[in-house]
C-alpha cells in the first residue's frame, strides 16, 4: 500500500520533472483516445509532434510554430504574474478580443493615412483596450469584493458580442460587399504586422513575447514589485505586514495581464488574422492558462510550454487534415493540464510505501 506524505520543502527535482511526465502521460492517454477514434496512435503522435518540425513540409510549419507560440507566450506571461499573487484572471480571451478591436479600430480610423506612427498607435490602443477590459474585474473586486474568476470569465462572453457587433457594424469593411468583417489590415502597409524575416513566422508579436519573457523574469526575481506579488500569493497577511497594499497588487496584476492579452490580440489582428471578424477568437486566451501552468509560472518555462502548445496546435491541424476531429485535439490539450496538475502532487508530497500495520486483536 502506498501513502502520500507531505514533503517539508517542495522538491526542485519534481518541479522540473513533472511537466515532462505530464507530456508523456498525455501522449499515452491521447494515444488511447486516438486509437478509439480509429487512428493509429503512433502515426497521430508523429503527425502532431514530429512532422511540423522535421516532416516534409516542415519549412512551412516551422514558421507557423512561432506565429502560434507568440500570442500564447505573451498572454501566459501576463497571467503567470497574477497567478503568482493568487489573482486568477481567467478572461484573457476577452481581453485579447477587446485589444484586437481597439487596436484595429485605431488603424481603421486612420485608413488610408500612411505614416510611421500608425502601427505604434495601434499597439498602444490594443494594450490599453485589454488593460481596460481587465480593470473591470479589478475595480469590482477592490470596490465590492467580487470574485475576479467569475467576472473575468463572464466578460469573455461580453467581449465576444462586442467583437461580433464591431465586425458587423462599426468596423465593417465598407467595400466588403456586405460580408461581415473589417478591411484587411495586412493589406494596409502602415498598419500591417507582417513577418519580419520571411518564412520564420517572426512578427512584432513574437518579438514582444520574447521581450515579455525577459521583462517578467527581471520583474519577478529582481524587482520589489515582483517580490511583493510573490509575497501576496504566498501569504497575504505577511504581505500587508511588509507594507504591500493588496488592492494595488490586484490592479497591477489584472491590468498587466489584460494589457499583454490585448497586445497579443492586436498583433494577431494586424498580422496572421488580418481583419476583425466574428470568428477572430481562437482560444489563445484559454490555452494560455495551460501554458502558464505547464511552464510552472516561470517565464522561461512558459517560453518552452508556449512552443510545445503551439506544436500541438500546428500538429493538431495536420492531424485534422488526416481526419481527427478538432475536439479530439482540444481534449488532447486539456489532458496536458489535467496530468500536470495530477503529477504536481509529487512536488509537494512523496509516495511512501507503508506496510499494513498488523491489526492488534483484543483492543480494549
Amino acid at each position: 500500500m502506498f501513502r502520500l506524505e507531505a514533503r517539508p520543502q517542495s522538491s526542485n527535482f519534481w518541479v522540473i520533472v513533472t511537466p515532462l511526465l505530464a507530456v508523456i502521460a498525455t501522449m499515452i492517454a491521447g494515444g488511447f483516445l486516438f486509437a478509439t477514434l480509429g487512428k493509429d496512435p503512433l502515426i497521430s503522435m508523429r503527425m502532431i509532434f514530429w512532422d511540423p518540425l522535421f516532416g516534409d513540409f516542415a519549412f512551412y510549419y516551422r514558421g507557423q510554430l512561432l506565429t502560434k507560440a507568440g500570442p500564447l507566450i505573451l498572454i501566459a506571461i501576463g497571467l503567470s504574474i497574477g497567478f503568482k499573487a493568487g489573482i486568477w484572471n481567467i478572461g484573457a480571451e476577452g481581453q485579447y478580443m477587446i485589444g484586437a478591436v481597439c487596436g484595429a479600430g485605431i488603424g481603421l480610423a486612420m485608413y488610408p493615412v500612411e505614416a510611421w506612427y500608425v502601427f505604434p498607435l495601434m499597439v498602444i490602443a490594443g494594450g490599453l483596450g485589454g488593460w481596460a477590459w481587465a480593470m473591470i474585474p479589478a475595480v469590482l473586486r477592490n470596490r465590492f469584493g467580487t470574485n475576479e474568476i467569475l467576472v473575468s470569465l463572464m466578460l469573455v462572453y461580453v467581449a465576444q458580442h462586442v467583437l461580433s457587433s464591431a465586425s458587423l457594424g462599426l468596423l465593417k469593411n465598407p467595400e466588403g460587399m456586405g460580408f461581415p468583417g473589417s478591411r484587411n489590415l495586412s493589406q494596409y502597409p502602415s498598419a500591417a504586422n507582417l513577418e519580419l524575416i520571411p518564412g520564420t513566422g517572426m512578427h512584432w508579436g513574437v518579438v514582444a513575447a520574447f521581450f515579455a519573457v525577459i521583462a517578467a523574469y527581471v520583474l519577478m526575481q529582481k524587482h520589489l514589485i515582483g517580490f511583493n506579488i510573490r509575497l501576496t500569493g504566498q501569504s497575504p497577511r505577511a504581505a500587508t505586514f511588509a507594507g504591500v497594499i493588496p488592492k494595488r497588487v490586484v490592479a497591477f496584476c489584472l491590468g498587466t495581464s489584460g494589457a499583454l492579452a490585448g497586445l497579443a490580440g492586436l498583433f494577431e489582428v494586424a498580422g496572421p488574422a488580418g481583419q476583425v471578424s466574428i470568428d477572430f477568437a481562437s482560444g489563445y486566451g484559454f490555452t494560455a492558462i495551460i501554458v502558464a501552468f505547464l511552464g510552472r509560472l516561470n517565464p522561461f518555462g512558459i517560453l518552452l510550454a508556449g512552443l510545445l502548445l503551439a506544436l500541438t496546435y500546428v500538429g493538431g491541424s495536420l492531424a485534422q487534415q488526416d481526419g481527427l476531429p478538432a475536439a479530439a485535439i482540444q481534449a488532447f490539450q486539456g489532458m496536458l493540464l489535467f496530468f500536470l496538475l495530477a503529477f504536481d502532487v509529487l512536488s509537494n508530497y512523496r509516495l511512501k510505501r507503508v506496510k499494513r500495520a498488523p491489526i492488534q486483536k483484543g483492543a480494549a
Binding site: L224, A242, Q360, A363
Partner: protein
C-alpha cells in the same frame, strides 16, 4: 497507591525525526504527573499516543493491569482516558450544553444533561451555566466547558495540555483546586506545562523528556524551578540579567487610540494611552483576545489610525504605512510567526527582505539587492543562533523556536528606536526564550524603547520595567513592575481596576 498506566518502551518515528524513543514511565492512581520538556521534546506525540490519536511504532501500554492500545480517541475515552487540549474545539454560536452534546457518543436528553453539567460544575467548583452561549464566555470559562466535558465521562486519567497558558492567576487557583479534588478522588492527571513554578506546587511526580527520550524523573517540589529547567534543557540555564536603567526621552507615545476591530470576533481598542521612553521595557499583559492583535496592527501600520494617535519621537505616524514607520524606527514583530511575521514557503533570505528592505537598504530604485539580503539573513542566523542548514531554506522548515529567533533577530538587528513584539516566546523552548528576552533587554539598554505584549506573566515580570494590562480593549495605567504583586496583576486582568467601565464584564 496502585499503578494506573504503565508505559513501556513507546517509540514513534516521523520522517527525519524520532519523536519518542523508548519512552517508559508509570502513572499512579490519583497522582498529578507532570510531563516536562522543551518544545519538540516529544510531549505532544507521547500524549497523542496515550489518547489514541497516533499509533506507536513499537512499545506497549498497560492501563489498570490490562493491555491498552487505543486505535482512536473514542477507544481511549471508553477506557477512561480523557484529554483537555490547549486549543479548544467549541462552537461560538452554540450553548455550553449543545457543545457538550456534540462530543458525546450517547448524549442524554438535553434537560438531563444540563442537570449533570450543573451538578459536576458545582461538585468541582467550576461555576458554569449550561445555557450560556460559548461566544459570550471568557477563555477561562471555555476551558471549564472542556474540563466538564471530560469529567462527565468519569475518567481515570485526565490529560491536560498547557491548561494555564491562557488563564488569569485567579483562574489558575480555581483550576488547581479542581485538580486537587480530582486527584483526591483517585483520578490521575497527566499535566503538561512550561510553567515550572506551577509544576512545583501542583505535581507529585515529573517525567522529563529531552529529544524524545526520558532523561530524568523527580519530585518537582524538591527541586528549584531553575533546576527543573536545567534538567529539561540539559545544560546550565542562562537567566537574562536585568540592569537598573534610567529611562531617557519619550520615544513612543500612543494617545487616545481608538481602533475598531476588523474581525467580527475581535476586540476594539478603547482610548489607549501609553508612553514609552528610551531605555525602557514596557510589558503589556492580559489574556489573548483582549485587543492584543488590534494593538499590534495599529502600531505596525497595518491598521492606519488617526494621524496623532501614534507618535514616534514627536512625529505623528498614525496614518503612515508599515514601511514609512520602519523608516522612522518603529518596528514590530507579530505573534503569528508563519503567515504573518514570515512567509512560510519563502527562503530565509526572502523573509529577511520582507521587513529589512527599508532600513537595511536591500533595494535600490526598486531593484532588489539579493547579495545584501543574503548577508543580512546570514547575520541574523549567526547572531541569534538560528539552527538551520542554510539561509536558502524555507521559513516553514524551521522549528518554532528557531523561526521565532529569526523573526525577533530580524527586527533587533535593524537598530529600531521602538520595537513592539507580540508573544515573543510563545511556544519557544526555555533556552531560546532566555536568549530572546536577553536580546530585547539589551536592545533597551542600548537606548531603544521596547514594548512586549505577552500572556506569560512570569516573562513580563522578569523583563519589563513597567507593566500594564490589556483587558477588553482597555489598557490599564502602566505600573512599576517591582511594586506589583501577583494579586494586583490578577485584579488588573480581571478588569476590576477599570472601575465603572467594568460593568459590561458582569453583564
Amino acid at each position: 497507591m496502585t499503578e494506573l498506566l504503565r508505559i513501556d518502551g513507546l517509540t514513534k518515528a516521523y520522517p527525519g525525526v524520532v519523536a519518542n524513543d523508548d519512552v517508559s514511565f508509570v502513572i499512579q492512581e490519583g497522582e498529578v504527573h507532570a510531563l516536562l520538556g522543551e518544545n519538540g521534546a516529544g510531549k505532544s506525540t507521547l500524549v497523542k499516543m496515550i489518547y489514541g490519536l497516533v499509533r506507536p511504532d513499537s512499545g506497549s501500554m498497560t492501563l489498570s493491569g490490562t493491555a491498552y492500545h487505543p486505535t482512536e480517541p473514542k477507544a481511549a475515552r471508553a477506557s477512561g482516558v480523557a484529554m483537555v487540549f490547549q486549543h479548544f474545539s467549541l462552537f461560538d454560536a452554540l450553548t455550553v450544553a449543545e457543545n457538550i452534546t456534540l462530543g458525546m457518543e450517547n448524549a442524554p436528553h438535553r434537560r438531563e444533561l444540563s442537570e449533570q453539567i450543573r451538578s459536576v460544575s458545582n461538585a468541582y467548583k467550576l461555576p458554569l451555566d449550561p445555557n450560556r452561549i460559548i461566544g459570550d464566555l471568557s477563555v477561562g470559562e471555555r476551558q471549564r466547558v472542556e474540563i466538564i466535558r471530560c469529567l462527565l465521562q468519569h475518567p481515570k486519567l485526565l490529560i491536560m495540555d498547557e491548561p494555564t497558558s491562557v488563564l488569569t492567576p485567579q483562574e489558575v487557583d480555581i483550576l488547581f483546586e479542581t485538580l486537587h479534588k480530582l486527584s483526591d478522588e483517585g483520578t490521575a492527571i497527566l499535566y503538561i506545562s512550561h510553567k515550572l513554578e506551577e509544576i512545583r506546587t501542583l505535581c507529585d511526580h515529573a517525567t522529563i523528556l529531552r529529544h524524545g527520550k526520558v532523561v530524568d524523573n523527580c519530585v518537582p517540589a524538591e527541586k528549584t524551578a531553575r533546576k527543573l529547567a536545567e534538567m529539561m534543557v540539559g545544560e546550565a540555564l542562562h537567566v537574562p540579567a536585568k540592569k537598573n536603567l534610567h529611562p531617557g526621552e519619550v520615544i513612543l507615545e500612543v494617545a487616545n487610540l481608538n481602533v475598531k476591530s476588523k474581525n467580527p470576533f475581535g476586540t476594539s481598542l478603547k482610548d489607549i494611552n501609553l508612553v514609552v521612553r528610551s531605555g525602557e521595557v514596557v510589558g503589556i499583559g492580559g489574556v489573548a483576545g483582549n485587543g492584543q492583535d488590534e494593538l499590534l496592527l495599529a502600531l505596525s501600520g497595518e491598521t492606519p489610525t488617526r494621524r496623532d494617535m501614534v507618535q514616534v519621537s514627536g512625529v505623528d505616524v498614525g496614518d503612515l504605512n508599515p514601511n514609512e514607520r520602519r523608516e522612522l524606527g518603529l518596528l514590530t514583530a507579530p505573534e503569528e510567526r508563519l503567515g504573518h511575521a514570515a512567509a512560510p514557503d519563502m527562503s530565509l533570505t526572502e523573509n529577511a527582505m520582507l521587513t529589512g528592505n527599508v532600513r537595511q537598504k536591500l533595494s535600490n530604485g526598486g531593484f532588489l539587492r539579493w547579495a545584501s539580503a543574503r548577508g543580512f539573513a546570514r547575520a541574523i542566523v549567526q547572531q541569534f543562533d538560528v539552527r538551520t542548514p542554510g539561509i536558502g531554506n524555507s521559513a516553514r522548515s524551521l522549528s518554532g523556536g528557531n523561526l521565532q529567533k529569526f523573526v525577533i533577530g530580524r527586527e533587533v538587528l535593524q537598530n529600531p528606536r521602538v520595537l513592539v513584539v507580540n508573544q515573543p516566546t510563545w511556544g519557544v523552548d526555555a533556552a531560546a526564550a532566555a536568549a530572546i528576552r536577553q536580546a530585547l533587554m539589551n536592545l533597551a539598554e542600548e537606548g531603544a524603547a521596547v514594548v512586549i505584549v505577552s500572556q506569560d506573566l512570569d516573562e513580563l515580570l522578569e523583563v519589563s520595567d513597567r507593566l500594564a494590562i490589556l483587558n477588553e480593549g482597555h489598557l490599564t495605567h502602566p505600573e512599576e513592575t517591582a511594586e506589583l504583586s501577583m494579586d494586583d496583576i490578577g485584579l488588573m486582568m480581571g478588569g476590576i481596576e477599570s472601575g465603572s467601565e467594568a460593568t459590561h464584564v458582569s453583564a
